[in-house]
């Protein structure tokens, strides 16, 4: 026992003192914080204003384009060719040309530019045009109805009254349906839940487990290969059992991973927090996550009145609160305990296999053929993620969350949707059994492999090693 401790200590200390570990520990949070901060920064950054020339032969839309932070619309009352020349001379960004059509119901517009215009811009233009055409059609319909109901009453072709009326109707019929799902828990307590929030929490957790298994599993493998190529392994196994050496390495590397992971979480929190303190205004608008950090006191009712008052308003605030509420519907104690368990269990299961592979080869290039069967279940689990999100209770999801090779990844997706404790216990038990089994097999391979040099090993050979006695 004491020897395993010595091995774990060496594996841990030599790794955390490495320059690459320190660099990664410092850079990781900066990168992660950058993922949060940079999009916000860019989203709020003042873009260079782009000038769009508009030639509108129909005359319907020319006043409808309103200038915003990114675009300035300049009407041109010339023909297309002249406007093209003007665009070139004035170095405008694009030229919007709306041709007159036979039925006076334009459904087409051309955008000329020497660059590929952004989706943002084309989306805005078509949105404005759609709304305007809808309005026109509605106004025409209103006029038609008036004419039918009051014969002899002549309406001006384009009265301001009609337009205003159609605009109001359009505004009033605009709706935004939000489906709020309630999960009925035992005892009849209803909790607001959100599929999206469950999905995000589950995916983040399972992706983290997946990455951790791969990163630190291959670290174990490289450690074993290093010992083998250094030829130190025979010196060590004359003092300790190969199994102790293998287990010590797997555990030591796990501790390194956990250390790095913890440091990342802490540093990222500090960095994001610090950035928030420094530039609070940057965090006012976009993603939901920041929102409940900056507006924690906002009451749902307030938003309700606000949103009904202003139908055009961004519904983000409400979404944020829904997410907040929905996230709190996830059983977090279970989630956290399960995460830690499957995180460590999954790593140990695969870590032992990676150690076995490392022992069977002489250098990293030879690992390929043995890596495949180890990585396939993991990659399969990631591929099946979407399916499991859609059918968290389905039979395939059930099996994938039970099989130890996929359960660490798949179970994490299922837990936010609610998994009975019995299933959790079964899955956990199977994972422990799986871990013991892979460690047993890996130890057999390891014991023979570490002392085998210069031999190309295949599966038949590995099978032989597993069956060797003592």
């Amino acid at each position: 026992m004491n020897k395993i401790f010595l091995i774990i200590r060496r594996e841990y200390l030599t790794r955390v003192r490495k320059r690459s570990f320190i660099v990664m520990t410092v850079l990781g949070p900066i990168l992660m914080a950058a993922i949060f901060v940079i999009p916000i920064y860019f989203a709020t950054m003042q873009d260079e204003k782009r000038v769009i020339h508009v030639v509108d032969e129909t005359g319907l839309f020319i006043t409808k384009f309103s200038n915003n932070d990114n675009y300035i619309f300049i009407p041109q009352y010339t023909d297309l060719e002249t406007a093209k020349k003007t665009l070139k001379q004035t170095e405008g960004y694009a030229l919007l040309y709306i041709p007159r059509t036979e039925l006076n119901v334009p459904s087409q517009a051309m955008l000329y530019s020497d660059k590929q215009p952004s989706l943002n811009l084309t989306g805005y233009i078509s949105g404005v045009m759609n709304r305007e055409i809808e309005k026109q059609k509605l106004a025409a319909e209103i006029r038609h109805q008036i004419r039918l109901s009051t014969p002899g009453y002549e309406v001006a072709a384009d009265s301001a009254a009609d337009n205003l009326m159609s605009e109001t109707i359009l505004k009033n019929i605009k709706t935004n349906v939000n489906i709020i799902t309630y999960k009925i828990e035992e005892g009849g307590i209803e909790k607001k839940s959100s599929t999206e929030a469950n999905m995000i929490v589950g995916m983040v957790a399972s992706l983290m487990i997946y990455m951790f298994i791969f990163m630190y599993g291959s670290l174990v493998m490289r450690g074993v290969i290093e010992e083998k190529t250094n030829r130190i392994v025979e010196v060590i196994v004359s003092s300790v059992k190969p199994f102790q050496l293998m287990l010590g390495k797997v555990i030591g590397v796990a501790l390194v991973g956990l250390t790095q992971f913890l440091l990342w979480v802490v540093f990222t929190a500090i960095l994001v927090g610090g950035f928030q303190q420094a530039f609070p205004e940057k965090f006012k608008m976009p993603s939901a996550q920041e929102k409940f950090v900056t507006n924690p006191q906002m009451q749902p009712q307030n938003i309700k009145t606000e949103t009904t008052a202003n139908l055009q308003a961004d519904t983000g605030n409400e979404t944020a609160n829904q997410i907040l509420e929905a996230v709190s519907s996830i059983n977090f104690p279970v989630m956290i305990i399960a995460f830690i368990f499957f995180f460590i269990g999954g790593y140990l299961l695969y870590g032992a296999l990676f150690a076995g592979i490392g022992s069977a080869v002489d250098n990293e290039a030879d690992t390929q053929q043995f890596m495949l069967p180890v990585t396939v279940p993991l990659i399969f689990a990631i591929v099946m993620m979407q399916y499991v999100i859609n059918n968290p209770e389905g039979p395939l999801s059930w099996w994938l969350s039970m099989i130890p090779f996929t359960s660490p990844v798949i179970m994490m997706i299922r837990i936010p949707f609610g998994v009975p404790y019995g299933q959790l216990a079964l899955s956990a038990g199977l994972l422990i059994a799986g871990f013991l089994a892979t460690t047993w097999v890996a130890a057999k391979i390891y014991r023979t492999g570490i002392l085998m040099y210069g031999k190309k090993v295949n599966y038949a050979e590995l099978w032989k090693w597993i069956r060797y006695k003592g």
Partner: protein
């Protein structure tokens, strides 16, 4: 009482037999040579003694006790395939390996300092292993093998990678260790050092022990009653004056001094040879040819490989 007894040990790897009922006994405070061609099974035997792998049959006793896990503390092993963690500092690494051999941290530091001083390598303590030359690394490796003062030391090709000066240093250390009470198993292909150092040997070939005993006895029993004769003032055909039962195996001439190698029949002695030759030439020297361990190794292994192990016994 033997310090180490190997009793009818066999080991198989699938179809391959690595050891076939091998038995050896090693006297305390002796240097025991474990010899044999490549792939004979020496390393497997050494690994069994070190409990790196277990025997399929037979048993190994250390001081009359069946091998048990604690025995690794009483054994020091310098494998042929040896190395150190390249990125780790020398002192830290030596400390780690010493602690794995059951030493307390405090003891290990003291003993290591002593050995580092003795080998004049104190200044390397904080250096990384990759900064050292191969010979320097071998010194560190030797120290970590002996630092826990084991009763039994196993050296597999200990001199590879050393220059002649350091080979001598190492030989002196090995002899010193024996004087202080250690028993040493010494595996090598260098027969000269076997003759120089070993008290007893065992020769393993193709999983079988084909020869063992004390070096002196083995050499004695491998004598072929062959003599080297130096003489002058005789220019005729030596063969014509020799007794026909004597076998002339070699003859050469250097600056008027003739040297002849003559093999005598069992019942004849050097006096018979002298009596035979004295009337014809003036004899300047006569000595018996004692076979080197190298010759014994080669003839024994060849005889065994030709499928005639009985010829060994006849010898």
């Amino acid at each position: 009482m033997a310090i180490l007894t190997v009793n009818n040990v066999s080991k198989h790897f699938a179809a391959l037999t690595a050891l076939n009922k091998v038995s050896i006994e090693i006297e305390p405070q002796s240097i025991f040579g474990l010899l044999g061609p490549n792939g004979a099974g020496k390393t497997t035997l050494i690994r069994i003694i070190n409990q790196i792998t277990g025997p399929d049959e037979g048993e190994v006793l250390l001081e009359n006790q069946k091998l048990k896990p604690d025995h690794v503390y009483s054994i020091g092993y310098l494998p042929e395939e040896r190395g150190l963690y390249k990125k780790m500092a020398v002192g830290e690494q030596a400390l780690y390996l010493a602690q794995l051999k059951g030493m307390s941290r405090h003891d290990a530091i003291q003993k290591l300092k002593f050995w580092f001083r003795k080998f004049e390598i104190e200044s390397w303590w904080n250096k990384k292993v990759e900064e050292l030359s191969k010979g320097m690394q071998q010194k560190v490796q030797f120290i970590v093998t002996v630092v826990h003062e084991p009763k039994l030391l196993i050296f597999d090709e200990p001199f590879s990678g050393f220059d002649p000066i350091n080979v001598n240093l190492l030989k002196d250390e090995i002899l010193e260790l024996r004087r202080k009470g250690s028993t040493i198993i010494f595996s090598t292909h260098n027969m000269a050092s076997v003759e120089e150092l070993c008290d007893n040997i065992a020769l393993i070939n193709k999983a079988n022990k084909v020869l063992d005993g004390s070096v002196k006895e083995i050499k004695k029993s491998h004598k072929t009653n062959t003599y080297e004769l130096h003489y002058k003032n005789f220019e005729g055909e030596l063969k014509s004056v020799l007794n026909e039962r004597f076998e002339l195996t070699d003859i050469r001439n250097e600056d008027g001094i003739h040297t002849a190698v003559v093999k005598l029949p069992k019942d004849a002695g050097p006096n018979d040879l002298l009596a035979n030759l004295m009337p014809h030439a003036s004899i300047t020297g006569l000595n018996e040819i004692i076979p080197s361990m190298n010759d014994i190794f080669i003839t024994t292994v060849n005889a065994f490989n030709q499928g005639d192990p009985n010829s060994l016994l006849a010898n």
